[in-house]
């Protein structure tokens, strides 16, 4: 009874709001991720108010393609940071592999497999991924088995691999790439357009609904508490709407008239009056990001490897005592990071049609910032893949949006800095309060 007298106004208000809180809680949505989606929406509304032109579909597409390289890397950086390490070398590794792609395609392919070879780009990509895995294995070995701190090893990588790019290329830009390889960088031709985009949206929607249903079925089989049916339905409807809204926006951008005319002539299509309308659709880099996000989320939450990483990050000694081969786990996170560097490098160098000396410079900072904004904790053991993707989108939204509004890049950096520190500050304050 004395408790009642001691109740503060805040606590009373909390109780009154409980019904609404329960409502949100019933959906079991990750509030943190939900908050980040809201923040992203707020940023874009703000940008739209400042200049409505930015809300045209073409800007969303350009923005998403620009974010793709760092978003791919951020998914791996989450796991590296979760395992209490850091990778400062990703920018230089992206640059090195990007240069590797260019040297391979410009200097080696013409004399060996031939420029017209349809699988030339696949060979390039496969070699790049192998190269990335080897770089990751090398750094990961030094970190996990030689016990050199990851900060030091990858700082060496940041400096050393950038130097290697110069040695490797003779200090010049190397170009061109194979045209088929450049489709990985997006552009009107490097997109999945029209009916195919709708079909993909439909497939993903069906898969999402099936996943929801099967999760519910197994939980019922074991007699676990279930989400209320309305919450389940709401999640399904919102997911499907979001997927189709994305496809709609992507398809709202049409090929530029000149390009469409050229395409019509090349394929012998009679151009209708007013020009041929070709829906651009989803850029391939964005498809890669979606694929990488799904694969990495699956790996980190549904596979033993992911569980081991999180266990090691939460308590390295406990993981060791549980019989986990912790060194091999750490080494594998760096191999994975190397593979993601190769994918990121493919997107970045495809957009440039070649390898430049400064490709990837500064990526490490944006990628770490994306992971941290996405809720990854340097204390280890905490972080999510979707969070990192959202973090990358927030960083890129500020860069792209503020750049669009005419701010120069030093000014954009200042804003990004404030956002980074503020987001992490609010987040850790929230966590302390939740304890």
């Amino acid at each position: 009874m004395t408790d009642v007298a001691g109740v503060t106004p805040g606590q009373v208000a909390g109780r009154n709001r409980q019904s609404l809180g329960d409502l949100v809680k019933a959906t079991e949505i990750d509030l943190r991720l939900f908050g980040m989606v809201l923040a992203l929406v707020v940023i874009w509304i703000g940008l739209g108010l400042a200049n409505p032109v930015i809300l045209e579909p073409v800007n969303f597409l350009t923005f998403s393609v620009q974010a793709a390289s760092t978003a791919v890397l951020a998914t791996g950086m989450v796991l590296v940071i979760v395992s209490r390490n850091i990778d400062l070398s990703v920018g230089s590794v992206v640059g090195l592999i990007g240069m590797g792609y260019a040297v391979f395609m410009a200097d080696i392919v013409p004399t060996t497999i031939g420029l017209g070879n349809p699988i030339g780009w696949i060979i390039a990509l496969a070699l790049g991924i192998l190269f990335g895995a080897l770089i990751g294995a090398f750094q990961g070995f030094l970190i996990a088995y030689a016990e050199i701190p990851s900060f030091v090893v990858t700082l060496g990588g940041l400096l050393g691999f950038r130097g290697l790019i110069w040695q490797f290329s003779g200090g010049t830009t190397v170009a061109p790439n194979l045209p088929t390889f450049n489709l990985l960088g997006g552009g009107p031709e490097g997109s999945l357009g029209g009916i195919w985009a709708w079909l993909l949206g439909a497939i993903i929607s069906v898969a999402a609904v099936l996943l929801l249903l099967s999760a519910r079925r197994t939980r019922r089989k074991y007699g676990f508490p279930l989400r209320p049916m309305w919450a389940e339905a709401a999640i399904a409807v919102v997911s499907v709407l979001a997927i189709f809204a994305g496809v709609f926006v992507a398809n709202s951008y049409h090929w530029p008239p000149g390009l469409a005319t050229a395409y019509a002539q090349a394929h012998g299509i009679a151009e209708p009056p007013g020009g041929l309308v070709i829906e651009a659709g989803i850029p391939i880099p964005l498809l890669i990001v979606i694929g990488v996000t799904i694969a990495m989320t699956f790996l980190s939450t549904r596979r033993r490897f992911g569980r081991d990483i999180f266990a090691y990050g939460g308590n390295p000694i406990a993981a060791e005592l549980a019989g986990i081969n912790t060194r091999w786990v750490v080494m594998r996170t760096f191999i994975l990071m190397g593979i993601l560097c190769a994918i990121s490098a493919a997107i970045a160098s495809a957009r440039l049609n070649g390898g430049t000396l400064d490709l990837g410079t500064g990526y490490e900072l944006y990628v770490i910032a994306a992971a941290v904004i996405g809720g990854t904790s340097f204390a280890g053991g905490i972080g999510t893949i979707p969070g990192a993707i959202l973090g990358a989108l927030v960083m890129q939204s500020l860069q792209y949006g503020l750049g669009f509004l005419g701010f120069n890049s030093p000014q954009v950096n200042m804003v990004a800095a404030v956002v980074l520190v503020a987001v992490v500050g609010i987040d850790s304050w929230n966590r302390r309060r939740a304890r």
Partner: protein, 273 residues
């Protein structure tokens, strides 16, 4: 087996021991943490391992659980020499350990901790979290029926609940040999009683338990035999019924067998007490 069935409080200490650790030595630099220690443990028996701080109890048990390599010595499991170089080896031989620190990954939930390192998977090798949660609910229903937080990270659980998760992890995998390092140190009276009941129950199932504790009464209550360590060495291993708690206390503090203690030392001990 019939001996344990007819007289569960005094299991047979003849025949093949479940575990024998022979002439174990562990040194950290110049410090001899464990010096030529030999102990054994029989099925259905509780052996109490006692000693002051730094006596070498934890190091000795870490050798058995694979967390610490011995510099020399031999480990026999059911009479056969075995090589235990890491925790995986130990678990393979049915040795489970409840560490004093509990060794839980705070960021993971109870089922993930229970199955840490040996997760249940589907046919495709994916984690079967639902099956693991189901199994956890069942085992916790026996150990601690009040436990309901199966999907929150264990960092937000109470000390007793965390202990229950650590115990469940050791018990679930059908251990033959259980090492309990200070299992009741962080617990309240009710939870301590629960752990004691559990020890008796496991003992009745024929599991050999190595019980490390500071609490001499805990050990005296539960153990069949008591091994006393002093400065890395075994002072003596005694049958509980042949000694008093004061005798054990004397061995812990003086490092000598009851018969070897002089009258003067006894007086000093009483003065200290």
């Amino acid at each position: 087996m019939t001996a344990t069935a007819t007289a569960p409080t005094a299991p047979a200490t003849s025949g093949t021991p479940l575990v024998e650790m022979r002439n174990i030595n562990v040194a950290f630099g110049g410090v001899h943490a464990v010096r030529d220690v030999t102990i054994d443990l029989f099925p259905g028996e509780v052996v109490g391992l006692v000693g002051g701080n730094g006596a070498g109890k934890s190091t000795l048990t870490k050798v058995l659980s694979g967390a610490q390599r011995a510099d020399s010595g031999q480990i026999l499991i059911e009479g056969e020499p075995k090589n235990i170089t890491n925790p995986r080896d130990a678990k393979e031989y049915g040795i489970e350990c409840i560490y004093q620190t509990l060794a839980l990954a705070d960021n993971l939930d109870a089922p993930a901790n229970l199955f840490l390192g040996r997760e249940l998977t589907t046919r495709l090798g994916n984690l079967d979290d639902d099956r693991m949660e189901d199994a956890t609910r069942k085992v916790m229903g026996r150990l601690n029926p009040n436990f309901h937080r199966f999907t929150t990270p264990v960092v937000s659980l109470s000390g007793g609940q965390r202990q229950a998760v650590a115990i469940a992890r050791a018990v679930y995998f059908n251990a033959k040999i259980l090492i309990m390092d200070e299992p009741t140190a962080a617990l309240g009276p009710a939870e301590t009683a629960q752990v004691r009941n559990l020890v008796r129950q496991l003992k009745a199932e024929g599991i050999g338990i190595l019980l490390i504790s500071h609490d001499i009464h805990d050990v005296y209550d539960l153990a069949d035999r008591v091994s006393v360590m002093y400065h890395g060495q075994i002072v003596d291993t005694v049958n509980k019924h042949e000694v008093s708690t004061d005798d054990i206390l004397g061995m812990i503090i003086l490092g000598k067998k009851p018969g070897d203690v002089t009258q003067k030392e006894l007086e000093q001990l009483e003065l200290r007490g």
